[in-house]
Amino acid sequence: MSAIEIAGIHKSFGQTKVLRDISLSIRSGEFVAVLGPSGCGKTTLLRTLAGFEKLDGGEIHVDGRLLSGKEVHLSPEERNIGVVFQNYALWPHMSIEQNVSYSLKVKGMSRPDRTRRTREVLELVGLDTLSTRRPADLSGGQRQRVALARCLAMQAGVVLLDEPLANLDVHLRATLEEEFSRFHRRSGATMFYITHDQSEALALADRVAVMDKGRIAQFATPSTLYLEPTNEMVAGFIGEGKLMDVSNLTPGNDGRAHAHLFGQPIRLRCAEDARARSEARISFHPSDLSLADAGVGIPATVKRITYRGDHLRAEVAPDPAPDISLTLNVMPPFCIEQGQHVSIALNDGWVLPDPHFA
């Protein structure tokens, strides 16, 4: 178990700034996911932690030990940080047992100790019967368990995972996500999980760091990210978030606020220190919108309907601003069709902090 302290790190490749002033404090034993679109620098962040890349500035400490910083760069082999690679990087010429025990072998552990420890670890991940097989003979899920067993065997306090589910099909993913949670409980290791898939990040992690263009956009628990994004990037990225402008924002003292959307009064959530202003930007999700009785909500026209099995997804254009497209989920019984005039209500929304005062 180890705490990770990342303080103001920078990394450039040539002219491209890949990491810009990234700081993260990760508690010992925490499961942290780093979420971001491709090219946002999340893999580089992992590689600096593992020691594959040197820093241009800032420091990385694990359990108080300086790993990367000014004039200091511990090589990956000296860090004792486990990595589960995207393709698992199992050595094809070694058996499962040899793959798992290799780190113990290079540490100079005696053969009997090595065998015993390897057997324990393989039993723990349920691969003890396959220990003589080669990686090529295993299924995708089994390979992942070997990769995890490798980290268990080396007793890494920190385990970095580089999009380990990216190349797998949907059915396998669900099973393997479960595997990661179990591994986390069992090893107690601090987990640092890189992914571009937000459902994975939100489901697995204690806290999620959303990355955008080399910066951390927000680092918070999954529910905070979903309900209280601090900026437009996070608001739009998480859970099909939608941004709208409201007028006449008047916050109360209880984290609630009133405002007007297309002239209709609505109730919103906001930060406790939010101030009253004439214009504000809010974020909400498709589930926050619903059909309302005629004459009560915002008048709108249905543009498109997509059948999604248990619900219909409707794209509607509010009549006061027909260029805007809003998405909402309609539950059965379905009584809606294209071109129909409806009335919609916004039941919940979050007022983004005013960027000018942040």
């Binding site: 303080a7 103001g8 920078h10 002033d21 593992a50 020691g51 594959f52 040197k54 820093l55 241009d56 500035g57 800032g58 000014k70 004039e71 200091v72 760069h73 090589s75 990956p76 082999e77 000296e78 860090r79 004792n80 940080i81 486990g82 990595v83 690679f85 995207q86 393709n87 990087a89 199992l90 050595w91 094809p92 010429h93 290799y102 780190s103 290079v106 540490k107 490798r150 080396m154």
Partner: protein, 579 residues
């Protein structure tokens, strides 16, 4: 916040300091630098120095005198026009062969390719000897036709046209391999589009295929040029009796006659040869890049049907193999089977005495075989691990030093072997410092030349292998705590085993029979098998030379066939004789 900003202002210098601490990887690359530096860079540097400076002074008069000499000018002229003309011939034959194999539904393609590429693997001095023998009375093909040479007649191959012909035939497979590789990258739908536009097979080839494989043709021509200009075996075997001097034979003859006193002048000639080689490579490289078309898309081989042309084309193709392979090799075997040169081969004259002499009686030949096996084996043993380590830095670590070492090794490989020979004499003539032992005249100077010469050859398949391997395999081993040497031994070497095996085969086959590097370095104490044929032929033992030549061809054929048996374990496209 301001505190952080201050801290980040000086990272660049801080990192340079930390890099000074030698990590395992840094110690290894320094060892590699020492290896390449001592074996390639320093001897070639010594050669350049010796070419310009005698006794520490730059003597421009001497340089002008040497380079302006009538014989040198004549040899330079011969070198240029012989290399260029033979390159043209090789490009013509090689391109036609590649089109035939790659574009038509010719039958028995695999066997034909094996036969077509085979001459490239036969040592050139053996090829030359075999061609010379093909007009002897012992030739089983020409003798019955009465096409043998009467005593006293001038041999038609002892001329510059003879040299050009043999160099062209010898290097045609180089162009063939290069063009065939380009052909494989041409997407079939480009041809189908031309066909559906109404183009007949010949216009398809001229208008579509040739422009698309142009870079392949020029790349092959560059290889053929470099190989021609530095081909000592053919130039010496034909050029010396024909009195057609070329730079390479001139260096050899003058060093033999005058000894080390001629070294400075010969270094100058070697440098001239090196400059000609580099100019030739640069020009062909530039021509190849002009109008180079990059094509993308799935390459699916499209074969034009020969139809009624099948019989004439097959006759031509197999007739070519009969002429360049069966004719000389059967004559070589014929000469090896008679007691004395000039005897016809029949049941009365046939004897295995030459083979018995070569294998059991003649001590020099036996020792030469043993030395060649020892040195070649040691070379493979050293170069494979060195190439794997150098490949590691080239593919997975970008760095100026490793690229510099790569360039130096490529140069030592591309330059004619005789230049490495002169450089090695210059570098190792004086006793080694500290131990005060001179390795000049021993087999170890030949060994040093092999290590220098063949590093790039061993490196190529290994670099290809690295490109196929996911670098995370190495990173996973770093994570596990393994140092650089453990990783190379436990992870990289086993994963790259097929490429390493292919590299070992290539180096072994090339070094076992080589002549140009060791011809200047052999001495009475240190003989290799490659130059043996020239010495035997010069001493008048033509039939014994033919027997040694036959043994060398048999050795090569055996190695090629054995490697074919294992070819399914080797990476595709590394062994040139496998279609």
């Amino acid at each position: 916040m301001s505190d952080l900003a201050l801290k980040q202002e000086r990272p660049a210098r801080a990192f340079r300091l930390s890099r000074l601490k030698p990590s395992g990887e840094m110690r290894l690359i320094l060892c590699l630098a020492l290896f390449v530096g001592l074996l390639s860079i320093a001897p070639l540097g010594r050669l350049v120095y010796a070419a310009f400076f005698t006794d520490g002074t730059l003597d421009l008069d001497r340089i002008a005198h040497v380079l302006g000499g009538r014989r040198v000018l004549q040899a330079t002229g011969n070198t240029i026009w012989i290399s260029l003309t033979s390159t043209l011939l090789a490009s013509l034959i090689g391109t036609l062969a590649a089109l035939l194999v790659g574009m038509t539904d010719m039958k028995a393609r695999t066997a034909w390719v094996f036969g077509f590429v085979l001459p490239l693997m036969i040592p050139p001095q053996v090829t030359a000897l075999a061609w010379v023998q093909s007009f002897s009375p012992a030739s089983p093909l020409l003798a019955p036709l009465g096409l043998t040479l009467e005593p006293g007649m001038r041999h038609p191959l002892y001329s510059s046209w003879g040299i050009i012909l043999l160099l062209g035939l010898y290097n045609a497979p180089l162009v063939f391999l290069s063009v065939r590789a380009s052909l494989r990258r041409v997407p079939a739908n480009l041809l189908e589009a031309a066909q559906s536009a109404g183009a007949k097979p010949l216009p398809v080839i001229i208008d579509i295929i040739l422009p698309l494989v142009r870079s392949g043709i020029f790349a092959g021509a560059a290889l053929a040029f470099v190989s021609s200009i530095g081909n000592f075996g053919i130039q010496a075997m034909l050029g010396i009796p024909a009195r057609v001097p070329t730079l390479i034979t001139m260096i050899y003859q003058r060093l033999n006659s005058y000894g080390p006193s001629a070294l400075n002048d010969m270094a100058l000639l070697a440098l001239l040869l090196a400059v000609l080689t580099i100019i030739g490579m640069t020009i062909t490289g530039w021509l190849g890049r002009q109008g180079d078309q990059r094509v993308d898309g799935a390459s699916l081989t499209l074969r034009l049907t020969l139809g009624r042309w099948h019989l004439p084309v097959a006759t031509m193709a197999w007739g070519y193999l009969a002429a360049v392979l069966v004719l000389p090799l059967s004559a070589l075997a014929g000469s090896a089977l008679v007691r004395g040169y000039g005897q016809p081969l029949n049941l009365d004259t046939i004897t295995f005495e030459n083979f018995r002499n070569a294998l059991f009686q003649h001590e020099g030949i036996r020792e030469a075989f043993a030395t060649s096996f020892l040195l070649t084996g040691l070379t493979v043993f050293i170069l494979i691990p060195v190439s794997i380590a150098l490949g590691y830095f080239l593919v997975w670590r970008s760095g100026l030093l490793s690229r510099l070492l790569h360039l130096a090794s490529e140069l030592a490989y591309a330059l004619p072997g005789i230049i490495i020979g002169v450089a090695m004499i210059l570098f190792f003539l004086r006793p080694l410092p500290f131990i005060d032992v001179s390795i000049y005249g021993t087999i170890w100077v030949i060994f040093a030349a092999y290590l220098s010469n063949y590093l790039a050859l061993a490196l190529r398949p290994i670099l290809g292998g690295f490109a196929q391997v996911d670098r995370s395999l190495n990173e996973a081993a770093q994570i596990a705590g393994a140092g650089i040497l453990s990783r190379l031994r436990d992870i990289v070497l086993p994963v790259l085993a097929p490429s390493a095996a292919a590299a070992a085969i290539l180096v072994f086959m090339t070094a076992i029979n080589e002549i140009q590097t060791s011809v200047l370095l052999v001495s009475s104490r240190a003989q290799t098998i490659g130059p043996m044929i020239i010495f035997l032929e010069e001493a008048g033992s033509s039939t014994l030379a033919a027997a040694v030549g036959c043994l060398m061809v048999l050795l090569i054929l055996t190695l090629m066939l054995v490697s074919l048996c294992f070819s399914k374990y080797l990476p595709k496209g590394v062994l040139p004789w496998r279609d």
